[in-house]
Symmetry: none
Subunit: 190 residues, 4 copies
DNA sequence: GATGAATGAGCCTTCATTCAT
DNA sequence: GATGAATGAAGGCTCATTCAT
């Protein structure tokens, strides 16, 4: 018997990301994705249960990768501010080097498809971040306020500034990112 | 000539908002909107050039209303911090009282349709806000940093916290809003 | 506004019958039917909810017509045998003059689609026949046995003999039909 | 060479019958049948040329079995009526003990697939029955009328009464079957 | 012999839009 | 102005069959 062709599988994933970025979620039909990937529409259903599965799986796997990249090289012994700054820098590195991955997740997160992914399914990949924040609160370094609020001032601004569509002026040079991080830190620190 | 029926026109707008909120952008077809509004699909094309026109027009007019509400009762003589706080409070008032309007704009802003609306077309309704910020920078009250960054820490967090889908824990009580605003202010102030 | 085009509706019905007879239920796709009728596939959905509705409605309306034709010119005062014979003759007249209608109902009745039609929905058009049979039983002219059995010997043989596919030898001349009816009568009479 | 696996072959046949009975001819796809049988779709094509071959072969082999069962224990010396009655009883025994086989053949016989099976291919298994009938005619016991007509009154009613879908009231108890057979006999005897 | 991967063609249905009244 | 009818194109998905191992 023939074995699953990982090259083909990867072509499907890349085609999905590329097409969604180019023409949006709504217009990205299964047959267009298949054509872009150079396979038959039917082939797609060997790797995924249906269109929803294709899109959510792609999203989750990118988020998993993001989690790994953002939280790498973290050292529990270093100051909390340094950890949080490192994560920011990692994020901007990631979005600079994988703009198409990042753009896909942003589009996905704001599409109705995102309701189909359990929040915990994604949040688990960022769990170490929560632990840092909690530690910061315990050590009276970070404001004792709900996680939703802290996220709105620590994580979301970074996402927004990374998003070329939303912020066309902001260029993510090390200086700019550092300057912007200062605002995040001023917001959340005690 | 007969005059267009404003009752009918309004029914179309309300149906659009209601349906998009209920079943999402992708599933909201013209005929479903027409049925929800109690008119013929063809009637819709009397009021709008096409589906794109319907959606973008609806979006822009809500944004115009939002601008009016957010920037009301502002007094150039009052402290900048007070003005910015007032705008926050106005935003949470608006989203509390018009959740369906707000939800629609959030969905729209993250759909591919949003690319069809010129940024300036919407930004002009929030122009007074820029002036306040500029004044704050000139008076050395607000950090001298690009507007994209300031918006990422002043405006976006408020939008995120208003969005029930994104922030399920955060309840917009006056105390919570005030507490969250403090983070915004800490972020942008000098 | 445009009014429903009955010519077009009839074209759809005739195309359905013709195609199902020619290539069978399984192969008769909506688009083939539409093409045969000279309309767009979408047009078909103006007249029918879906494919199932198209097929069942067509079946039921033919059965209604059959009921009318088979039971016409019946006279309660005439002998029961004459009434039952008249119905047989009417049936063979009908199948001779409307072979495509008859063939369609036979195919339908033995397809899984037939489960979608309530038995009573069709049986009501043949109700006078039951009444004759019941009268015959009461008058001790017809055997007192369950209706299923009587139908199996009175009605089904006529259907089978009418069916060109099942009975290729039998020709429905008046003499042949009369001769065959004698068997039916011998079967059910007391 | 390797020998075909009869266990596997039988699994395919049983899966075909089971699935066609459960979901109908139209919905019974090759891959569903393969899955039900626990084999690969490709395996199926080792045993059968194509789907048509699978279905027709299954049909013919059941019919062959039916012929054997119906015509067993027949004695040319016994009265013709007894022989014909015995066949009836055998048929009801068969359908009672093998309802799924019977149901399959009934579905098949009324599907377009049945046209693909030559009539003689099946009829040969019931040839002894014809001989009995011919003998009956020669002995002036059975009406001298075409075989199509005799079959319509002798064989078809039994099939109809056996078919649970068509006759929901009739229960095939020995008494009921005997009573019904009397109608068949009355119909065809001289 | 046996298999899961792979496919182009086709399935039913809905789409955004225009037509004819 | 307003409408329901009408449509070609496209939607997601499954089909019977063959390929490659």
């Amino acid at each position: 018997m023939r074995t699953k062709d990982e090259v083909k599988h990867d072509a499907i994933i890349q085609a999905t990301i590329k097409l969604v970025n180019k023409i949006g979620f709504v217009s990205s039909s299964v047959s267009k994705i298949a054509k872009e990937a150079g396979v038959s529409p039917a082939t797609l259903y060997i790797y995924y249960k249906n269109k929803e599965d294709l899109l959510t799986s792609t999203y989750v796997s990118i988020k998993q990768l993001m989690g790994k990249v953002l939280l790498k090289e973290l050292d529990d012994s270093q100051p909390i501010r340094d950890s949080l700054k490192k994560i920011w820098l990692n994020l901007f590195d990631f979005t600079r080097e994988n703009p198409e991955y990042f753009q896909f997740t942003e589009q996905f997160a704001n599409s109705p498809y995102s309701d189909l992914v359990k929040r915990t399914e994604v949040e688990k990949y960022f769990e170490p971040l929560s632990r840092i924040v909690i530690r910061g609160i315990e050590q009276k370094i970070i404001k004792d306020i709900s996680f939703d609020v802290l996220r709105a001032f620590y994580f979301h601004p970074a996402m927004v500034l990374s998003n070329a569509r939303l912020c066309q002026e902001f260029k993510s040079t090390p200086e700019n990112v550092e300057a912007a991080f200062n605002l995040a830190w001023d917001a959340i620190r005690l």
